[in-house]
Symmetry: C2
Subunit: 314 residues, 2 copies
């Protein structure tokens, strides 16, 4: 196992499998990854709303990468374990005209700055916001040629905004290209389900990730293994299927159906039992509702309910 | 304070404000309420799918009530505290052709019987399903004349299927008629978000409820005060806004907007701060996705985030 480091810049803000890898690693390696905030250092502490309006939005999400993982090939599964996260004590949240889940109610541009005090922020007193930082964006290069803006997530991961991906959790992604070509960014010190105003607590966030490879495994979209120490009210200690689509009900349906598949293939339930087990124990959450025109739904089953079983054969 | 009891039968399966109250109580009183299973005792332990198909579905949800609460008038808020629940050791879950979230995938009628062993069920080994029983249906008579089947919930409560409503939690409902006319039933020993196959663990469930009245308080829909001991992965120790509508995204939007209102009116946040706080800390869940054509969304904020504050002035 080798430890690597990679600086944030130059960042990139598209998924494009023709991008030159900035780092080459072996499966099993750990990487300390510096990530600037989603604006790519354009937002600074104390910045006012008027100035915020002038930033170049094409630079969002300012990702670090790509990282080439040796031996990774299409049809493999990349396992990304979040070992540690380090915020820098400051973050921001904005409201932008025409964006956000309540855009008909909130028109006026606004920016709020948060002081991050270790494990909480008290900047919006009397609220005490618990911090459990995670990267909003982690993904591999897409299967198709071209340069795609990073807002919509997909089977390749990307802008998932799944708050369970804090230190201790793992993300499994299908590999679509040789070397996988992993990139990440969009640090959030905290985020609610749906990220309703368009931002979580956006922040620079350095992370340590460990990469593992599972050769020739079937996986049709992102799967999260959530640890026991996620933020309050998150889905701790669970298997979480993540689906993205334009219709919220259909997306929730796809996530449910994929969880049924997982219960059948990995735990050996009959299909009908898997369906009923979902009906009595599944958690269905709206992880992201502001990446128009797509929404992201998470379907989770607690590990308390299922016996420990390997996701992939050793 | 007086303690009352009410037997389940005769049950009713419509919301109809002209129904004769079966019990009259004072605010502050406790009531031991017997509730048969949602089928109204038509499903019995060991019943096979073929026989299950012949039950009279018009008898679902077989509610107990109405209960008249003295002094309750339109414009008041009824507080219903769940003090205790008692299942009888057995429950069932079914799959019905043409119903359920994955009805295109699961056509064949099926019924599964669960042995309920105190706090878990191991009937679907190797799964261990934690039990935290609650009533799927609690509501007051609607504001309009007529007899309405009980499947769609609404601002009056009803078929909410919110799993946080276990012993220790409270439900707040707007009152639309003199006496409020509360009814309840549809016991679930466990239920996942969305209740995807169309059932939770359906079971007879006796409950003890305490009723309190808050005079002339504004409340536009169901609000849950979730206790700390809900089922794993539920939203514990939280304020939960419950909204129902035909479009899932619009319903989630309405729930978010109502949470913003609550933060403004009860905690004194500015509107924009309330919106941002939701973006960094709100939990958005699909509580019910099989009550076609409506869906139910829960929006929750942990009490860990907010200082203790009375929901209604004393």
């Amino acid at each position: 196992m080798t430890e690597h480091t990679i600086a944030a810049e130059p960042t990139h803000s598209v998924w494009d499998r023709s991008l030159e890898p900035r780092l080459r690693i072996e499966p099993g390696d750990e990487v300390q990854i510096e990530c600037v905030d989603a604006s790519g250092r354009q937002v600074r502490p104390g910045m006012k709303a008027a100035e915020f309006l002038t930033i170049d939005r094409n630079r969002i999400h300012a990702l670090t990468g790509p990282i080439w993982i040796e031996a990774a090939e299409p049809g493999d599964v990349l396992e990304v374990e979040v070992l540690a996260t380090r915020h820098s004590g400051w973050g921001w949240s904005s409201v932008i005209e025409g964006l956000g889940f309540l855009k008909d109610r909130f028109h006026r541009p606004y920016i709020f700055h948060w002081d991050l005090d270790g494990e909480t922020s008290r900047s919006m007193a009397p609220a005490v916001v618990p911090l459990r930082p995670f990267l909003g964006v982690m993904g591999v290069a897409r299967a198709d040629d071209g340069a795609f803006r990073t807002r919509p997530p997909g089977p390749f991961g990307g802008n998932l905004d799944v708050r369970e991906l804090c230190a201790g959790s793992k993300l499994y992604l299908p590999v679509y290209n040789r070397g996988a070509l992993f990139s990440c960014g969009d640090g959030h010190a905290a985020q609610g389900d749906g990220e309703v105003c368009i931002n979580g607590i956006e922040c620079p966030l350095d992370v340590t990730l460990r990469f593992n490879l599972h050769k020739s495994q079937r996986l049709t979209g992102p799967l999260v293994e959530a640890c026991e120490t996620v933020a309050p009210d998150s889905t701790a200690n669970a298997w979480v299927v993540v689906e993205t689509g334009t219709d919220l009900a259909e997306t929730a349906r796809a996530a449910t159906s994929r969880m049924v598949d997982l219960l059948v293939s990995r735990w050996g339930f009959t299909e009908i039992h898997a369906y009923i087990l979902c009906s009595v124990a599944l958690r269905l959450r709206l992880s992201q509702v502001v990446n128009e025109p797509v929404h992201t739904v998470s379907a989770a089953l607690s590990k308390q309910i299922l016996p420990d079983r390997r996701l992939f054969p050793a």
